[in-house]
């Protein structure tokens, strides 16, 4: 198959699989997840390049991937819906110190994850000190504390 089509197929597939598995998948890079990411990238590299190690193919693939990303970013900028479909939207998971259980469960976020984010980013000690916690599009958790 033409390397450009291979690159595009891989790009679309990755976009789809990361949307299906959700924001929380591979969002925290533990040692295991880091190794998993390396294995995924190695698998993709072999499928895209095959036995063709020419510099032309490398140039074409890099341009394909960067071009696809550029087009997607332009579309996201122009159409809000494309942005939502490809990135998702942030979700509030703690409201005035109260964990929103359904939202957290369905988004696969545990209370401990929120407390962990609160401790590491702001040094907060308890859930009641959190005004809002938001699950961001990249899978990270933002903590907004009460203002003293």
């Amino acid at each position: 198959m033409n390397p450009i089509f291979r690159g595009l197929a891989i790009y679309v597939f990755l976009l789809l699989i990361f949307r299906i598995t959700g924001k929380r998948s591979l969002s925290e890079t533990t040692t295991f997840e880091f190794v998993l990411l390396l294995i995924i990238s190695e698998t993709i590299q072999q499928a895209m390049v095959g036995e063709d190690f020419s510099i032309t193919t490398a140039f074409l693939l890099i341009m394909t991937l960067m071009g696809a990303d550029l087009v997607l970013s332009l579309l996201k900028n122009k159409f809000k819906t494309v942005d939502k479909i490809t990135e998702g939207t942030p979700v509030i998971i703690v409201d005035n110190g109260k964990p929103l259980q359904h939202r957290m469960k369905l988004s696969r976020v545990a209370e401990e994850d929120v407390l962990n984010a609160a401790r590491s980013s702001l040094g907060l000690e308890r859930m009641e000190e959190i005004k809002f916690a938001v699950l961001e599009n990249d899978g990270s958790i933002s903590i907004i504390p009460y203002k003293n």
Binding site: T21, K84, G88, I92, H102
Partner: protein, 167 residues
Amino acid sequence: MLFSKFKLEDVKQDSLQVEEDISFVRKELVFQRVGWFVMFVVLALGCVGLFGTGILSHRTEATANAKIEYERFLRFDNKTQLIFRINNANSSTTIGIPINYLSKFIVEKITPEPHIQRQTNGSMFYDFHTAGSSEIRMLVKPITTGNYKANIAVNRDVIQLTHFVYP
């Protein structure tokens, strides 16, 4: 019905400037669950050989005197074996493979090696020294994708193979 399982709490606040769209989040969650289901179905089908190497893929086509074992589903650029089993072979066995089939594969290895290889009437004929029950293996690698059929001649018998090669 699936949507009713994805009830999310309402949050009434206006201090935090965040573009939350909870109806979209619900659709996203449903899409994800459907996606998980499809992913595991694809994996299960992969385990049983829908994408090659498994019971759905392994085929045996036989006549009274010969049998061919092969994989119905192949993957592009991935080697596979065609195993010919010949009963009560004479001193010589001939296998004829159409050229248009061979144009879609690279024949990497034939065991045992044929003593003669010739091309006649659009087919490549391989002649082997054989005696009794014999087994001939061909290691081939698909170089195009898609569905194709071939009539393989084993001595006087003709056996049809069907492959689907995934990209």
